[in-house]
């Protein structure tokens, strides 16, 4: 494709400057119109690619995660239009609550487990078509246009994070395309991230849950998540595999 519309920042800022100049020339007096906030809808709305300068990650504080709470799970299902077919063995599951229990003391903890967005994802290694891929900003996704549904990635994933769609689906969410015969998993709500918003589970956790989930850029030393992982001890699940997941847990 050669004739792509020009969304370059240069052209945008030039137009904004022109408009601003027009507004100023009307002063003093009432401003006749306001310039809408430039690039308000996130960097990607202006047509720029995601960059590897960012590494999205999550820090989950398990002391704030209640055993009985599954607000993150239901928020995920609502956001992405996941519906069950009464077959728990095969129903899609992007995030689940896992309860771990120490048999000696009886002490138990519950943690949300989803795609861990590994730095070296085994699902990407094994994919025969290149459908399973890692975006520059660290989000691991399935390109369903090239997924053939072989499910190697499901076998390779040590976190059991992926689901295969067995049924014909209808009325999917426009921002979360899903269809029979492809593999899917947590996208970290990539459509929200590209619009400068938080993943649905994080939002639900802070609204109605315990506020256990913190989302942010692990590459930015000024971000809250970077400062917290620097200050407090945190763990990755199955850190021994050396995959360096982007999801970290506190008080595990």
């Amino acid at each position: 494709m050669t004739d792509k519309p020009d969304f370059s920042p240069g052209r945008r800022s030039f137009l904004s400057a022109m408009a601003a100049a027009a507004g100023v020339s009307l002063a003093p007096g009432v401003m006749l119109y306001a310039i809408s906030k430039s690039s308000s809808a996130g960097a990607n709305a202006t047509g720029t690619e995601v960059s590897s300068a960012v590494r999205w990650g999550m820090l989950i504080d398990l002391n704030r995660c209640d055993n009985g709470c599954d607000d993150c799970v239901s928020a995920c299902a609502k956001e992405n239009g996941l519906r069950g077919f009464g077959r728990p063995e095969t129903d899609a599951q992007w995030i689940r609550k896992v309860e771990i229990r120490n048999p000696e003391t009886g002490h138990s903890k519950s943690l949300p487990v989803m795609c861990q967005h590994c730095e070296d994802p085994p699902c990407v290694d094994v994919c025969p078509t290149g459908a399973s891929f890692k975006r520059a900003d660290g989000i691991v996704l399935v390109d369903k246009h090239t997924c053939i549904g072989c499910r190697y990635c499901m076998m390779a994933c040590p976190y059991k994070a992926r689901s295969f769609i067995h049924e014909v689906l209808e009325d999917q969410k426009p921002h979360a395309p899903r269809g029979k015969g492809t593999v899917e998993s947590c996208t970290l709500c990539v459509h929200r991230i590209d619009a400068d918003r938080q993943p649905a589970c994080v939002e639900a956790c802070s609204d109605t849950g315990g506020g256990a989930m913190l989302f942010g850029d692990l590459n930015d030393p000024q971000s809250e998540i970077s400062q917290r992982v620097a200050k407090y001890a945190s763990k990755q699940i199955r850190a021994d595999l050396g995959l360096n997941p982007g999801i970290r847990y506190r008080n595990l």
């Binding site: 990607n44 009325d171 492809t182 590209d194």
Partner: protein, 131 residues
């Protein structure tokens, strides 16, 4: 050579078939051609002119699909969601129809051209409905 009676029956069936067909899709009287009935989109104009879109919409969609999925470039103009929101066709109940309805924008033409598309096996074929 079929007997005369059989030939007349075949002719009658043919005429009946053609008249049924034309009552459904006989759209352009001036040209006398069989054309699909294409619903009008909303807004003043499409992202490109109609002739260009007729021949090249699939290239735009495919290009944008890779840009968005792989590189996170979300141009509102060329997104499938944006296409479907301008080209939504509303049924008698004022709810946008899905691709299951023959009047759906994409389907009206693709049925005519006998080109089957896979987009809507995964993608929503209408704007999101608040529930």
């Amino acid at each position: 050579m079929a007997p005369r009676g059989t030939r007349i029956v075949m002719l009658v069936i043919m005429i009946a078939g053609i008249s049924c067909l034309s009552s459904v899709i006989y759209a352009d009287d001036a040209m006398g051609a069989l054309l699909p009935v294409i619903p009008m989109g909303q807004g003043e104009s499409c992202v490109k002119d109609t002739d260009f879109m007729r021949r090249n919409h699939m290239e735009l969609l495919k290009h944008q699909r890779d840009e968005t999925t792989l590189r996170g470039v979300r141009s509102e103009q060329l997104s499938l969601t944006e296409c479907l929101s301008c080209h939504a066709v509303y049924g008698p109940d004022a709810v946008a129809v899905t691709v299951a309805d023959p009047g759906h924008f994409c389907r009206s033409c693709h049925d005519y051209a006998a080109v089957s598309i896979d987009c809507f096996q995964c993608h929503a074929s209408r704007p999101e409905i608040a529930r």
